[in-house]
Amino acid sequence: MERIANAVGIATVNEPTLIMLFTVFVLAVFVGYYVVWNVTAALHSPLMSVTNAISSVIIVGALIAAGPMEVNFSKVMGFVAVVLASINIFGGFIVSQRMLQMYRKKK
């Protein structure tokens, strides 16, 4: 079962080792650090709502949990997580867009 899952699974792309994942993690922290310091203070509120929206990418894990045919505990968990993450994705991006639309330059 595990072998089959590994052979086709997306969660196990090339069976990443912990150190590989950790490398990706550390590099991403650095990217985040430099990108976020460049964000203008005037946009710190939209920054919070955009980061909030993209952190809902956790929906990826929820979709896999909610994906199987048979109904079991983990499918229910996955379904609830899909609902919660969707609220965040739609809510977060829309409220960000609403905010950003208000920022205007002097005419």
Partner: protein, 464 residues
Amino acid sequence: MSAELTGFAYLIAAICFILALRGLSSPETARQGNIIGICGMAIAIATTLASPEVLSYTWILAGIVIGGAIGTVIALKIHMTALPQLVAAFHSLVGLAAVFVASATLYAPDAYGIGSVGSIKTASLVEMAVGAAIGAITFTGSIVAFAKLQGLVTGAPLVFTGQHALNAVLGIAAVALVVFFAREESHLAYWGIVALALALGFLMILPIGGADMPVVISMLNSYSGWAACGIGFTLGNTLLIITGALVGSSGAILSYIMCKGMNRSFISVILGGFGADDSAVAAGGPSGDRAVRQGSAEDAAFIMKNGGKVIIVPGYGMAVAQAQHAVREMADILKAEGVDVSYAIHPVAGRMPGHMNVLLAEANVPYDEVFELEVINNAFAMADVAYVIGANDVTNPAAKTDPASPIYGMPILDVERAKTVLFVKRSMASGYAGVDNELFFRDNTMMLFGDAKKMTEEIVHALG
């Protein structure tokens, strides 16, 4: 979809998210950045749906439709003044979703290729437990933050003896349970960890006062990212790890900026209790019956109309009174009279980072008239009028002169250097730090007592 193609699609999504944040470096590119972020999310979801694990779509589509509808309605209806609590509420959902996903991986590990029930890899168990714990802390912590911001519970810090000891015991117990869980894969231990983390999140935010909310809300923003990271490690999913790390570091940087804006250490904010009633007597010098100069809306209108340069200093009081539209109206009239008007924003003004900027933008104030503290602080010396509306502690000169003051060392806006300071305030009450503001008693200060919105509207009337 092959594993390579899936991995590649996830990479594209991650790049989209980085570009979304990159866009926020200027208001001109920010809208476009947000659209790119939406594309990234669409790619991530579509890629996962096309993966071989996902066989049944009914529940998923129902979930997305239900959640999407709720989220859309909330986002379209919410008032901009309620933004801080909305963000807190959204953070709580990410935290809760992380707990659910972690639970799903525990009960159906083979779907994620991390082993089967009873023989999940130890590393995966640790990652799962950590992800769930951070998610649970984010969830209850954000709920408390939401309740405080919404005014459901008092914004005052709630402290009791032995609080820190209790938190420490709970924290140690949680770590011990994680170790046990990693060895035994006991479901009971897992739920124990979740329960402890839920309690910790609650207890951690409870003692933190309303005025420290900018730090709290940034910190929870950061936690929601680390929770996503934890789940990413469990699933071996690089997209989740990258995105979580971006969000986590973003929240951490915002927390740092907010702490610096208050000259407080992150630890002291976390330990809480700031702004408690007992600090009111801490310092600030005697105020007694010292006289203040009080003025009317007509006086204020006259002074501003005849000034060459007016700097408006908004604070949380402006948000509470919803006075931003009246302020912009006043500025429009002054500008028509040939007065130079600009706005000065302190980093911790309001209840979340950038709170004032959004409110002013909502009132159609052009963003190039709004300046940060470092940029505009020297301009006060050349200003005829500083119009302080709903701000207090961030203008208190005691931060520069009185080492005994609780706010000593905090960067402040040098409003006292303006020729006249017009201070709109409901009463002589002190700010959240419980410190008297000696600015009220200066010769060049004129107090305008009243509600921020009403007073500004009266000034508009007097100007017109």
